[in-house]
């Protein structure tokens, strides 16, 4: 069953065609990597999937609903309810503790629940770091908090933008292991990356070049 379906989507900035008639889909529970050099339309694709931008033309179906014509306010609601975001720069609120950062996500979604937030931290192995400020956490730890934050509202889709771009190998592996665990639990994952190793961890890789889908690679070595 398709969770996300992109049909003939173009995005044009002035003279630049960032996306040129792209079509792709992601099934529910699938783990997909989107790869491509810079300028390939990766970021634009990410913004559109993440409900932070609208295509110039084409349809974006999320959970069967076309979101390509929605207003900014409706997109915010969809993003809040259905999508968990993970960023390359982690992005934590620097004056809030780890657990508070997770609760911010709950706050905008529904109700803050400190216990649930602590459980999420437990899950990424940082229960004892709950009261630490971001400045007291390592990069890897911050990204793990961000994974916990992305999960906290049980989103349909986790969208990760270069999640390991700022991490060393050890932390990269920890994060990828977390993704594997999420995948086993049935979470849909879209990881935007230019790192082939990260892409290879996914079931399928979609390669973008010059705003078009250049090719798709099925990872035959993928282990459930």
């Amino acid at each position: 069953m398709k969770l996300l379906e992109i049909k003939n989507v173009s995005k044009i900035y002035g003279d630049l065609k960032a996306l040129d008639n792209v079509s792709l889909h992601v099934d529910k529970g699938e783990w997909v990597a989107i790869m491509g050099p810079s300028g390939s339309g990766k970021s634009t694709m990410m913004n559109i999937i993440g409900c932070m931008d609208k295509p110039t033309s084409g349809e974006v179906l999320l959970d069967g609903k076309d979101i390509s014509k929605e207003s900014g306010k409706a997109l915010t609601e969809i993003r809040r309810d259905k999508i968990g975001l993970i960023f390359q720069q982690f992005h934590m609120v620097n004056y809030l503790t780890a657990v508070e950062n997770i609760m911010v996500s709950q706050y905008y979604h529904s109700l803050p629940d400190e216990k649930e937030a602590l459980d999420a931290l437990e899950r990424v192995g940082l229960r004892e770091r709950a009261k630490h400020l971001p400045s007291q956490l390592s990069g890897g730890e911050q990204q793990r908090v961000c994974v916990a934050r992305a999960l906290i509202n049980h989103p349909e889709l986790i969208l990760a933008d270069e999640p390991t771009g700022n991490l060393d190998e050890a932390n990269e592996n920890i994060v990828l292991d977390l993704f594997r665990q999420l995948h086993r639990e049935g979470t849909t994952l879209i990881v935007v990356t230019h790192d082939p190793e990260v892409a290879e961890a996914a079931q399928r890789t979609i390669v973008l070049e010059h705003g078009k889908v250049a090719r798709e690679i099925i990872n035959e070595n993928f282990v459930e």
């Binding site: 990410m46 915010t76 992005h91 809030l96 905008y108 109700l111």
Partner: protein
């Protein structure tokens, strides 16, 4: 956990954990609030303070006789019964009569008053010497003292005549009679005619530097000099002045017949005061009989000058004595021409109301405001208050600009955080509420801090400028906090607009 609790947790964390930037905004508000509350405190306290200040410029209300006649002291004091107990600062009675200084052929307006009250209604009186404390003491206006050559500690004789004619007028008519004859010899003849046995003669002549010397002589049964009194007050004390005090010089006149010639018949000049000695002789030769006057009541008293009054005003032309002395001399006790009042009131309207109350209750007296004082009070207060008003508005604007700039910097500094919050699903309203919340919280803290500082600020100003502490306005602190919160909120409007405009996608671009 409720949303509200999380909201407060986020806001306090933002303010407490991001101290340096927020401290600047907090300080801006606190300083603004301090100046604001301080000025408002002074604004409300100034009328009270200034009213006390203005009491230094003299009486602000007069009690006058209703109708033509003078009033009685009793009726004036009865009228004051209706005044609020603590409003009356001072009440000074005045009775004015003309009194003569016969030896100088001058007359002066003489005021009988209560010296204990004088300084309360006329704090601006500047006195060389001291106020009279006993009977038979006078305070001279500076102009009077200069004219008479009087100094503190000297004595002078004042005469009161019930008749309208004064010694001055009598002397004028006498000299006019002398002039009609047209010749000096006529004056000499007139003087000669006055030298009757037992007569009292007075005369004056110019001594050193044209300053007058006054001489009074009494004659015995044979028209020879029995007593002599020289008044050389206008002369230099150690030279011409000695003609009034040197015993040997004065006793040589006793028993002599008039006219006299200096340096003959045993009349010798005082060494070092030859000119003045000559003047004494001439004054005796030209001396005329004192006009007895037709007045039925005449009383004479010798007073000691205890002080000389310097005000720059008309008071300098007066002689002041105690009401008791004046009444003893005139034989008219209990009569007043005016009662000067110094009344404490918050405004001219209040003062007018007090005057109206007095007028409603009393028939023999009327109360009137001294417009010169009350008007200038109103004008000065109005100007001060509009100045405070202006400064307040400027301070409010400056605070707003400062807070706004700081908040703008805060928003710029936190663009990524705002983007993140939006990416996490914050609506525009959430962003607005959060920044407004922070602004209001800053306003609350700054207002509280500033309100307290402002009271100290107002207190310092009040003590230094007005010399008295300020009364605390209990509503001022909550009002200051409310105003600070409003200012903070208004200051946040522009920064909030730019916060709402932040694009959530910026967090994705790996900035």
């Amino acid at each position: 956990m409720s949303k509200r609790k999380m909201f407060l947790r986020m806001i306090t964390a933002s303010l407490l954990r991001r101290r340096s930037r927020m401290l600047i905004a907090l300080l801006s508000i606190a300083v603004g609030a301090a100046i604001l509350s301080g000025l408002v405190t002074i604004y409300y306290d100034v009328p009270r303070q200034m009213s006390a200040q203005f009491r230094n410029y003299g009486a602000n209300m007069l009690l006058l006789p209703a109708g033509e006649s003078s009033m009685t002291r009793e009726s004036a004091e009865n009228a004051l019964q209706s005044l609020p107990a603590d409003a009356l600062i001072g009440a000074t009675p005045y009775r004015y009569v003309r009194m003569d200084m016969v030896s100088r052929q001058l007359s002066f307006t003489t005021a009988g008053t209560d010296f204990e009250q004088v300084m309360k209604t006329s704090p601006y009186f500047h006195i060389e010497g001291s106020l009279p404390e006993n009977d038979r003491e006078v305070l001279l206006g500076k102009a009077v003292a200069d004219q008479l050559g009087m100094r503190v500690g000297r004595s002078m004789e004042l005469t009161w005549q019930a008749g309208a004619q004064t010694a001055k007028a009598a002397a004028d008519s006498a000299s006019a009679a002398g002039q009609t004859s047209g010749e000096d010899t006529a004056a000499d003849q007139a003087a000669e005619q006055d030298r009757q046995p037992g007569a009292t003669l007075t005369g004056s002549a110019e001594g050193w530097q044209n300053a007058l010397i006054y001489v009074t002589v009494t004659l015995d049964d044979e028209s020879k000099i029995k007593t002599i009194d020289v008044d050389a007050s206008l002369q230099t004390e150690e030279f011409g002045g000695r003609t009034a005090t040197d015993e040997a010089f004065l006793t040589q006149f006793i028993g002599k017949s008039l006219p006299l010639t200096l340096n003959e018949a045993g009349i010798d000049a005082l060494s070092g005061a030859t000119v003045s000695s000559g003047a004494v002789v001439r004054a005796i030769n030209e001396a005329r009989a004192v006009q007895a006057g037709s007045a039925p009541v005449e009383s004479k008293r010798t007073f000691t000058v205890t002080g000389i009054l310097d005000t720059g005003g008309e008071e300098e032309d007066y002689i002041f004595m105690s009401l008791k002395d004046l009444e003893d001399m005139t034989g008219e006790p209990g009569r007043l021409d005016v009662m000067e009042l110094s009344v404490q009131a918050a405004s001219t309207e209040d003062l007018q109301k007090i005057a109206d109350d007095i007028n409603a209750g009393a028939t023999a007296v009327t109360a009137r405001l001294v417009k010169r004082v009350t008007r200038s009070e109103t004008t000065v207060l109005g100007k001060l208050q509009s100045l405070v008003y202006l400064v307040t508005v400027v301070v409010l604007l400056l605070t707003m600009i400062s807070v706004s700039t700081t908040m703008m910097a805060v928003v710029t500094e936190r663009r990524r955080e705002i983007g993140l919050r939006k990416a996490l699903g914050a609506s525009d309203n959430s962003i607005r509420t959060e920044f407004l919340g922070e602004g209001l919280f800053l306003g609350l803290l700054g207002g509280l801090l500033g309100g307290l500082l402002g009271f100290v600020f107002a207190q310092v100003i009040s003590v230094n400028v007005f010399g008295s502490p300020i009364t605390l306005q209990p509503l001022l602190l909550p009002a200051t906090i409310a105003v600070s919160m409003i200012i903070a909120a208004v200051s946040c409007l522009l920064p909030i607009r730019s916060a709402v405009a932040v694009d959530p996608a910026l967090v994705l671009k790996g900035e």
